[in-house]
């Protein structure tokens, strides 16, 4: 279906998924400005391509998938070789919350997103694998390895 996306539909998509897209970009890139740029690009793609979605969840997964691709693209750029932790412009968080955020952000890239998508966004291993374009066994391994590295009391062990 070659549909066009109206401003209202874009707004509705942003209201529903904008924060999730931005948070995923923040987890990946760690810098507010970079996350904003990627979020803008993600919704530009939604606007320009206007794919047909089966439902809101399908749209959300597509947006997160595009976010992961764009973030990966940015990180691979020479100017993003050195990945830093969360920038200092974030809202002040309680010490233990900040420690938890820093711990996840300090994980290598391949473990950071599976942890965020599974434990924060609540996606199953299969759904997370689809978003990150991974095989299910690879997704499961990354989640397991990320959890080991975090040494965090994570719920819902695989």
């Amino acid at each position: 279906m070659k549909q066009t996306l109206s401003a209202r539909q874009l707004e509705e998509a942003y209201n529903a998924c904008g924060t999730a897209v931005y948070r995923l970009a923040m987890v990946y890139l760690g810098r507010r400005a970079d996350a904003e740029d990627v979020t803008q690009e993600v919704f530009l793609r939604l606007l320009c391509r206007a794919p047909a979605f089966a439902d809101g969840e399908h749209r959300r997964r597509w947006l997160l998938q595009v976010t992961a691709n764009l973030c990966r693209d940015q990180l691979r750029g020479f100017w993003r070789k050195r990945v830093t932790g969360l920038d200092d412009t974030l809202p002040a968080a309680a010490p233990e919350e900040r420690t938890a955020l820093d711990a996840v952000m300090a994980l290598p890239e391949q473990y950071r997103l599976p942890i965020h998508l599974h434990y924060y966004e609540g996606y199953s291993v299969a759904e997370m694998a689809e978003i990150l374009k991974l095989g299910q066994s690879a997704a499961k391994m990354r989640l397991k390895r990320g959890r080991e590295l975090l040494k965090m009391e994570l719920e819902g062990a695989l």
Partner: protein
């Protein structure tokens, strides 16, 4: 430290409100790019006593027709059954003897393309189309259709980049349709991305427009070639054009005859000199859009092969569009005529939205009081939607031929689109009616749009997401 600390910390990470404004401003690019050509085809007569009550202003340039809004008494009763069929299933309804509605219930996600419902099965890596099924929607039945599917390869080198991949296509009922998969690739260092995609060429079933792209975001650039389906060979479209122009272009808009092209470019760090050009393939003439008519236009749209609509934006210090002035530009004579002067730009997220929505050669002008006029930007002719008041949540979409305007009203309290009312203004026949929808709150509606000049469809699913629906309306 536990995962709940992470969740609470992450909950505090929210984007600035200004980011939404930035994103919503992108719609200006989209609406400008949606070039529509106005066709002079009269639709079949409707059996409704909803007539033009013509009213004319003194100046012929400002003559205004009035369409009286007619709200159907009959309401649509939407299906919401979660009983999942074994394959697609269809039911139908008529609304006010004016609209034929077809409700296609599906066990999983099906596509709609080329006027047919499709079920595609891809390999796990989504690189290969393994199986496909198609159905035509005819007389309230889904009729299986066999298609002669072809597979072609892309193997093109342009500017030192090797573009390759596979795609699938067929012709059915005189229409070409194609399917591609994810073609994006990176270099070994992962620093540069490239991609290829296709577009249909109006009136042609032997070729596709192959769009080769590099870069992302502001550095995205695109180069078009004509791809011949029978030989797999590509044909240059910009053979005589200065390469510095095409290298800085991020897309091309074609006139209906494919003779004229608007080579679009937006400046960026890497391409600071990018701008928009009008190119005539027959004469090889290349003209900067900002020089046309001596008015410094920012961008343009085709009204027809002899006429451009020139857009002049006035922006504030943050580069946000404040208002737009439109000119009709006669290409053979080089004469520009102002058709709409300094109208505010529409922003749907404003508390009480008003201003201009652009649809290529036409626009919808909404006053602060909610009065709506459709303006033909070639002639300046206006059509007032009488008896109708625009409210926040209302929206319009023009059909591909530009002669019918879809109207729909969205409930802002709904989780999805929540379309509570839907209708069509026929600008040539002079009719405008809409009907209320009952039961939309029991569906998650994810998309609405024209499939062809007479058909509108809505994608939806039940709230438990067990059953998918395609709601098709023949106006």
């Amino acid at each position: 430290m536990n995962i709940n600390d992470y969740r609470r910390g992450m909950d505090q990470i929210v984007p600035d409100a200004a980011l939404k404004e930035r994103i919503m401003n992108q719609t200006k690019k989209k609406t400008i790019s949606a070039r529509r050509v106005f066709a002079g085809v009269l639709a079949a007569a409707l059996s409704i006593a909803c007539l033009i009550t013509a009213a004319f202003a003194a100046s012929p340039e400002l003559r205004t027709a009035v369409l009286s809004f007619f709200r159907l008494e009959e309401r649509e009763h939407l299906p919401n059954s979660s009983v999942t069929p074994d394959g697609p299933d269809i039911s139908n309804a008529e609304i006010g003897e004016l609209v034929k509605a077809q409700y296609i219930k599906m066990d999983r996600y099906y596509g709609l393309s080329g006027g047919m419902l499709n079920s595609l099965t891809w390999s796990e890596d989504r690189k290969t189309l393994l199986d496909y099924k198609f159905w035509e929607v005819k007389d309230n039945e889904l009729i299986p259709v066999q298609v002669d599917m072809h597979t072609n390869q892309i193997d093109v080198t342009h500017n030192g980049i090797h573009y390759q991949g596979e795609f699938w296509w067929f012709i059915h009922g005189g229409q070409l349709d194609f399917f591609t998969t994810d073609n994006r690739a990176w270099d070994e260092e992962g620093e540069h991305a490239w991609d290829w995609n296709f577009s249909l060429v109006p009136g042609r079933t032997d070729v596709l427009l192959l769009r080769l792209s590099t870069g992302t975001q502001m550095e995205y650039r695109e180069y078009p070639l004509l791809y011949h389906l029978d030989t797999g060979e590509t044909e240059e479209l910009f053979a005589g054009v200065d390469p510095s122009v095409t290298e800085e272009s991020d897309g091309t808009i074609w006139s209906d005859s494919f003779r004229l092209a608007l080579i679009v470019g937006r400046p960026s760090d890497e391409f600071p000199n990018a701008q928009e050009w009008l190119y005539d393939r027959e004469t090889g003439t290349l003209t900067a859009v900002n020089t046309l008519g001596g008015i410094g236009a920012d961008t343009a749209a085709f009204a027809d092969d002899d006429t451009l609509i020139l857009y002049c934006f006035r922006c504030d210090e943050e580069d946000m569009i404040q208002d737009v002035t439109f000119y009709s530009y006669d290409i053979p004579s080089g004469r520009a005529t102002k058709t709409l002067d300094a109208v505010p730009y529409y922003r749907s997220w404003d508390e009480k939205p008003s201003g201009v929505m652009t649809f290529g050669s036409r626009c919808v002008l909404i006053s602060e009081e909610g009065q709506v006029q459709v303006v033909d930007l070639k002639t300046g002719d206006r059509t007032l939607l009488g008896g109708f008041t625009f409210r926040k949540g209302d929206s319009f979409q023009l059909n591909p031929s530009g002669n019918r305007l879809l109207y729909f009203s969205m409930n802002s309290n709904a989780d999805s689109l929540g379309i509570s009312q839907i209708g069509v203004a026929d600008l040539e026949k002079g009719t405008f009616f809409a009907f209320d929808r009952e039961g939309y709150e029991n569906l998650h509606e994810g998309g609405i749009g024209w499939d062809d000049d007479n058909t509108v469809s809505i994608r939806a699913s039940t709230l438990d997401n067990e059953t998918q629906y395609l709601l098709v309306y023949q106006f």
